[in-house]
Amino acid sequence: MISDFVRKLWLKKSTGVFLFFSIVVIIAVLITFLTPAHAEEELTLDSFSHSTIGLVTGATQAEMAAEMYPEAKIRYFSGLADVLAALDAGQIDCTIIPYFASIQYLEDYPNFAVLKDELYPCEMGLAFPKNKESDELRQQVNEYLAAIRADGTYEKLENNWLKEPNASPMVEKKDLGPGEHKKLIVATSGTFVPFSYIFNGEPAGFDIDFVTGFCNAYDYDLEFKIMDFNSILLAVATGQCDMASSHLSITEERKESVDFSDCYAMNYNLLMYKADKTAENTLASSFYKTFVKEARWKMIVNGLGVTVLITVLSGLFGTLLAALICLFRKKCGKIGNTVSDIFVRIFQGTPILVILLIFYYVIFAHTGLSDVLVAVVVFTLNSAAFFSEGFMSGIKAVPASQMEAALALGFDEKKAFRLFVLPQAEIHFLPVYRGEMISLLKGTSIVGYIAIHDLTKAGDLIRSSTFEALFPLLIIAIIYFLLSWLIYTLLRKAEKRVKPKPGGHFLKNVTLRPREGGNDCDQN
């Protein structure tokens, strides 16, 4: 009886999904909170010489780590939040982080500890593209820096951001008033407390206040562009932004591709490790931090909107383009086939992320096209390549004799294609189309690489503020799953509509002859 009940429950699709996620949540929670404790011991720098060190890709700490610990294993992550999550999960033994960041992290992660040794002091600066126009801007920044150092504003900033954890923004963008104002596009990581992170859905931090103050002083309009830390320097070098204010250490190597302002803050590094592995971290506080604090749920909602926008537009345009490709193939014979073949091969054979970066940093680098538009273009082309393959194979699956029969009846080619070939091809390609649509949705999760705040990026940003992996990742997985499910259901409905069904489409409003035996089967 109980097994019957379970089976019935399971058979209901929604119940099944609910149970599935409940199980995932329970397992994740158990793993997070039931990890056994380790005994404490006295640690020195030498204790980590054979450890696994986690670092952010593109950060200067990589060189230090390699120099200090030639025997250690180094693993790279795309943001500090990932590094800390990995440290918390025991995937790495330690990380090297800037002193200022450690203040906030030690507050958020009471189970972490740092060694007292101060490592590799370095200067931090704002980065500019190497060109004349930027030179002027750089001079202005240096002037501004000198000015605020002199009048005490700098000290206020320093006291607010760099001395105590849990600071809040103190400089507001001023109203510029009427008239033309040059807009500065400033790249920042948004993932690095206390210099640049997301607070109440907006960029905040020492870097942010500094740049805002600068723009206020020099009457610039200002737009922050949140980018992956490891792509910021590239964005500056290729002129995607006017400057980067993103806790960048000044190094000789970096100076070759970008120019730096004067040093606006000194930084040194600390080795951080997990001291106490049984942290006090309740589910309720995790949930609060992830969704409620600073109205972070809004970021998820906005991200969801962007993901849906890119998916819907790319899906729509991709479908149209795919139809055009099919037409081109049919009409232009050999040339059409070769050209579309090359197009399809390129997109099938290259990772979509690489194509996205090429379009963003190379092809559309200086066009000023908005990021979302670039993403829509790339995903349109990509899905068109895959859709057109599906369409073609669907059309090819319809025997040529169907076309011939239609022509023989006296239909012209266009009508014959529309009435006879297409409806039959649809039956073949709709299942493929459905799969490709879901792939498209999931594929859009990489747009964070080109500074778009989609659903995945929203989760990343929340993680980098809360240093919690469980809820952001889980909620985002669930939302993606539900979206795919929606796509699946909608397209399934469309499929059912094109499939032949008893009665046919053509007999609407026709009075059918009653069957022998008197059973009326009129349908209207």
Binding site: P399, S401, Q402, E404, A405, A406, L407, A408, L409, G410, F411, D412, K415, L419, F420, P423, Q424, I427, P500, P502, G503, G504, H505, F506, L507, N509, V510, T511, L512, R513, R515, E516, C521
Partner: protein, 359 residues
């Protein structure tokens, strides 16, 4: 009344010219069986008639209108020429009645109700009105072909072209289709049926068009044609004649090789083993024992073996001195040969000719 007139039609492909010069007139009420060996352009003729292919030369007139004219609207011609295919080609996504209705509604602008009512009448005609809402995939081959016929005549064509309409069907389904075609014939429908099945041609056709060598080799009433075709080519085709001709020199003669050739020929044309045994023995006896001793070593001997539905015969001819190899009525050899064959005949027409027949 002439429905279709074809004048000096020619169709060339890159590697082949299936139709060289073909002229024919099709009259109302004609039920033409187009027959002939494969590769003689029977199907090409149908494809030319409904303008699926462009002729290389020549013209086709439908109701005295030149439909092969470059500016003639092919659609209009095709609407007046019905077509039934070997593999049915029903529209798989439409049900039976929709298959029949769609062309009258979408092309002729008939109302759906009218097209439905007419379609149901046609289904009555092809005895399938109870399957009107079935989909093609639910029908047998014979039923599909009957629907295809109904679909074609729903457009009220001047002529119905049928391309091997029963070739893809088993005998029982064939019978269903043939019955429907006979019904149509009795209603005076003008039809042109390409077939390689003589039974179908014989049971339906009132006129036979025998195509061979790229043209009309024989054109005449079906009754006469099937009795005895005038053209030798048509006769050979109709009665499925097969010939094996060999030249034998006594000096080079190899019994083994000759035996292998004969056996292969008989096997290929599926002669009963008893019959082939009789023929092989008779030829061996006659040639080796009766002719070889009496002719010089380099005297050519021609052997021609003919196998058809109607007869099996062998003709042996040789030059040189005139002699009947079996002159003696009572000789043992003659008795053996007459025992094996039905008939033995010797005559001298400038050379020695012996005719043997077997059964």
């Amino acid at each position: 009344m002439t429905v279709i007139r074809i004048e000096h039609l020619r169709k060339e492909y890159e590697l082949d010219t299936p139709i060289k010069d073909l002229s024919v007139e099709i009259n109302k009420g004609d039920i033409i069986a187009v027959i002939g060996p494969s590769g003689t352009g029977k199907s090409t003729l149908l494809r030319l008639l409904n303008l699926m292919e462009e002729p290389t030369a020549g013209d086709i007139y439908l109701d005295e209108e030149r439909i092969t004219a470059p500016d003639f609207d092919k659609k209009l011609a095709r609407q007046k020429i019905g077509m039934v295919f070997q593999n049915f080609s029903l529209f798989e996504h439409l049900n039976v009645i929709e298959n029949i209705m769609i062309a009258p509604v979408m092309i002729l602008g008939m109302s759906k109700q009218e097209a439905y009512d007419k379609g149901m009448e046609l289904l009555d005609l092809v005895e399938l009105s109870d399957r009107s809402l079935s989909y093609p995939s639910e029908l047998s081959g014979g039923q599909k072909q009957r629907v295809a016929i109904a679909r074609a005549i729903a457009m009220e064509p001047k002529i119905l072209l049928l391309d091997e309409p029963t070739s893809a069907l088993d005998p029982r389904m064939k019978q269903e289709v043939v019955r429907i075609l006979i019904k149509l014939a009795s209603m005076g429908t003008t039809m042109m049926i390409v077939t390689h099945e003589m039974e179908l041609a014989r049971s339906i056709g009132n006129r036979v068009l025998y195509l061979d060598k790229g043209g009309v080799e024989e054109d005449g009433p079906a009754s006469e044609f099937f009795e005895l075709p005038k053209s030798p080519l048509a006769k050979a085709f109709l009665f499925r004649e097969h010939k094996l001709a060999r030249e034998i020199l006594p000096v080079q003669y190899s019994y083994q090789q000759f035996l292998v050739e004969l056996t292969e020929f008989f096997l290929e044309h599926m002669l009963p083993s008893k019959l082939s045994y009789k023929m092989i023995c008779t030829l061996e006896e006659l040639i080796v024992n009766c002719i070889f001793p009496k002719v010089s070593q380099d005297n050519k001997i021609n052997v021609e073996i003919l196998h058809s539905d109607r007869e099996n015969s062998a003709v042996i001819s040789y030059c040189g001195e005139n002699f009947d190899p079996l002159p003696d009525e009572d000789s043992l050899e003659r008795k053996i040969i007459l025992g094996m064959s039905d008939n033995y005949h010797y005559e001298n027409k400038g050379e020695n000719v012996i005719t043997l027949s077997f059964s």
